[in-house]
Amino acid sequence: MEEGNTTNAHEDSQRVTWEGCSVLLDVNDGDRFVFARLTTAATLSVGSYQIPLGPLIGRPFGSLFQMRTGPDGPFLIEDQSKASSDSQHTNGADTKENGMDWKNNQSKDNRALNDTNTAQNLQHSDIVEMKREGVSGDQIIEALISNSSTFAEKTVFSQEKYKIKKQKKFAPKVLLRRPWARSICEAYLKKKPVKIGYLRFDTLSLMLASANVSGYSDVLVVDQTGGMVTGAVAERLGSTGNVCCTYLGLKSYPIDIVKIFNFSPDLCSRILQSPLPVLSSVRVEDTQILQNPVNSIPSEIATTNSLLNSTPSQVSMTNSPLNPTPSQISMTNSPLNPRPSQIPITCADIVKIDVSSRQSIPSPKDHLEETSDCTDMNLKCTDKAFERRKVSCNPGQNATQARVNLWKERGFTSLIIAAPNLDLDSLVEDLLPLLTYSAPFVIYHQFLQPLAVCMKKLMTSKIAIALRISEPFIREYQVLPGRTHPFMEMNGFGGYILSGIRVQEIPES
């Protein structure tokens, strides 16, 4: 079949990890997500354990590992016990049993349970001793159960819960995942939502769809989500098309999340950056471009970025009002960061499970350290394989003048703005003319007001049509026989998006 060719050897090799590859580790069924770069030296810390990640190299994505402790300390081995490998709602056998019982069998309930802390006869020192002897986590759990005076009285459901709790502590599980836009976004939202501007994955998906991002696209983005948007766009480009991150001021916005995706060097080379003044500089050369054959072939290496240097006045002019001052940032940040009492609702799991206190609000300066921190220390390791890869894959190069000219000639095919710290009105005014007619655009914002004002302005200017502000609502369900309901906790707000289509202006008459 012809289609057999559509996924080549390279794609298939991506389903197995390699040394230096970026992975997402799902620790204990989604309790915690860790991005790591796999090297022989890398380790993962779970509780008090430092677990070497070497055994994960060369393993297929989707493999599940469980920690064991041996005389040489903790180590990961591939988990063979499939039955216990799933979280509550995926464990078929158990849930089925419970399901059949749910209407009548409530014989055990918690009326006889007293919370006295004396139910466990095993001492802490006993457990430490067992660990030192290399007793497996499962055996420790067994010991805990047989020494618990109340375990037998618990309902099946809470017995299960108890076991899971102990398993997480003494025999943590690590699931090997491929980092994709969705999983990266979800992990950041749980772990460090500020970094990605509180972008929810469903909102992100809506933005990509509304902006019609696909192969052959030339997507213009303003990305203040640390590279989340840029990476998600690049993922959709495949082997064709470009994404151009534009920015105001002298420094481009950090896009280091892009490095978590395992993009090929070719794809990385199509993730470009260009300052706004360069993109929107007068189109005098347009006529030349049409005649100049050089521009039809993007001979990028040869061309220098002359315009960049020739317009310093423009750069600094645009720079001053829009480059946010520290005070502006903290201003914008404060309402996004809800009252302390509300934080645990959004990122409860992380607050509980993530030992470190990584919740500080980032200032633009510490963006870089912040990433290595957030993506775990494993990213810092200076293994040779990693270094080599890093060199070959360097997203965010400056777009060459030839490329910029091409964009000017043809226009971008879509625009995505996720820039909470910039003034939307002037940004949109500058960016929309860079799009080709009929090109869709989307603007993400945490607040409704700026989008409403922007929408009204666009309606008046008639440079865009099909304008719409929407807000996605997503709710996850627990599905269990007789116990199906929405999860008690949810993310109640995913931001707003304003979408529209750029069209031919109405000529002044």
């Binding site: 559509t6 996924t7 389903r15 297929p60 493999s63 599940l64 591939e78 799933d86 709602h89 995926t90 464990n91 078929g92 056998a93 491929r178 969705r182 469903d202 992100l204 998906s205 809506l206 990509l208 769809a209 509304s210 192969g215 052959y216 480009l237 495949g238 082997s239 064709t240 098309g241 043809r410 226009g411 095919t413 080709t436 007619y437 009929s438 090109a439 869709p440 007001q449 409403a452 004002v453 929408m455 009204k456 309606m459 049509i465 099909a466 719409r468 929407s470 807000e471 996605p472 609502f473 997503i474 709710r475 996850e476 369900y477 599905v479 199906t484 750029r502 069209v503 031919q504 109405i506």
Partner: protein, 355 residues
């Protein structure tokens, strides 16, 4: 091509533009064109988002040509697909438009009426999102919010091989095709011969037929064809009893592949999740909805009531006064009419089989 499309318009519920299309059908010149236009199926043309061939990058800026599928944007949320046809006229509340006038202009152009009301419309290039809004419903379809979540969660990117059933109206299929392009493929199956046929015609019109294959097959009864075994990146099901297809889906997926099932009823979800438990992991069920907002302008008119593209309106004193508009507050509120439910999306990843 054009024939089929006009016929579709023909069964549409009656409104002004429908009547117009009928008029075109009976226009002798038009009929003439149709007979000789049958030679050029949409295949070599670059119609939807320019994916079908040639240099697609240039195609996006490509100008409107005869035979193109164009979207006529009348006003907010009112868009109609139309095949650009020589000497054909379009009649709507904004006047009478000649297709001939559009040819050679870029997509996204504003075109003026030649007779009747002095108005204008925009001629847009089709995208999967616009298509979903203006296609001719033959079944229930998936809409933007569900579609975008499905594409992202199923990890559909260029080059992917995707299976889908049932095809229905092809609303989702069109978006999947866009996402697997240029070198991937989607095989979609429906047991309804007629629907499969109409879907094929739509894909052809949209210039994506090289990315989609429509098969007629009872997927619940027979499962997916064996030729796809262990080759497929992701699978989507919108069927009355998706749980019947779970074992087949597991067989088709590559290691670590993801599937999704869309069902309106929670009982269906329940059965599907039970069926998924033995071979799949990370089973998660979501409901996604969109809330739209309208903005209130100083005249008291909301964006929803936004008046259309009448050129006269520019001087109409009742419309927004620009100088005031820039200084007054803008109010926003959710639209009154909203979808309360579409369906539940259940995602699951194939469990790892150590070999």
């Amino acid at each position: 091509m054009q024939l089929i499309f006009c016929a579709l318009f023909n069964d549409q519920s009656f409104d002004k533009s429908t009547r117009v299309t009928r008029k075109i059908l009976t226009n002798p010149k038009h009929v003439n064109y149709q007979s000789n236009s049958l030679r050029s199926p949409a295949k070599e043309k670059l119609i939807m988002f320019g994916l079908a061939g040639g240099d697609p990058r240039l195609s996006f800026k490509r100008t409107i040509a005869y035979g193109d599928l164009a979207i006529v944007y009348e006003k907010h949320e009112i868009m109609r697909p139309i095949i650009v046809t020589p000497n054909a006229e379009l009649h709507n509340r904004f006047g009478v438009f000649m297709h001939n006038d559009w040819v050679g202009k870029p997509f996204g152009s504003r075109v003026l009426s030649v007779k009747g009301v002095q108005g204008y419309v925009y001629i847009l290039a089709a995208t999967p999102e616009i298509w979903t809004l203006c296609l001719q419903h033959r079944t229930q379809i998936l809409y933007l919010a569900d579609i975008s979540l499905v594409i992202m969660y199923l990890e559909i990117v260029p080059g992917c091989l995707v299976l889908e059933s049932g095809t229905g109206t092809g609303s989702l299929t069109t978006s999947i095709a866009r996402s697997v392009a240029p070198n991937g493929h989607v095989h979609t199956f429906d047991f309804h011969e007629q629907r499969a046929q109409s879907a094929r015609a739509d894909f052809d019109k949209n210039g994506i037929s090289n990315l989609v294959t429509v098969g007629v097959r009872d997927i619940q009864g027979e499962g997916f064809p064996d030729e796809f075994q262990a080759k497929v990146d992701s699978i989507f099901l919108d069927l009355p009893q998706p749980w019947c297809v779970v074992p087949s889906a597991a067989k088709m997926l590559k290691q670590d592949g993801v599937m999704c099932s869309f069902s309106p009823c929670i009982e269906q979800v329940q059965c599907t999740c039970e069926a998924l438990a033995s071979q799949f992991t990370e089973i998660r069920t979501f409901e996604i909805l969109l809330r739209h907002y309208e903005i209130l302008r100083d005249t008291g008119a909301t964006s929803e009531m936004e008046s259309g593209n009448s050129r006269k309106r520019k001087h109409d004193p009742s419309s927004v006064n620009d100088s005031i508009a820039t200084t007054t507050t803008v109010f926003a509120r959710p639209c009154r009419f909203a979808k309360g439910h579409t369906g539940y999306l259940t995602f699951a990843r194939l469990k790892f089989k150590s070999s």
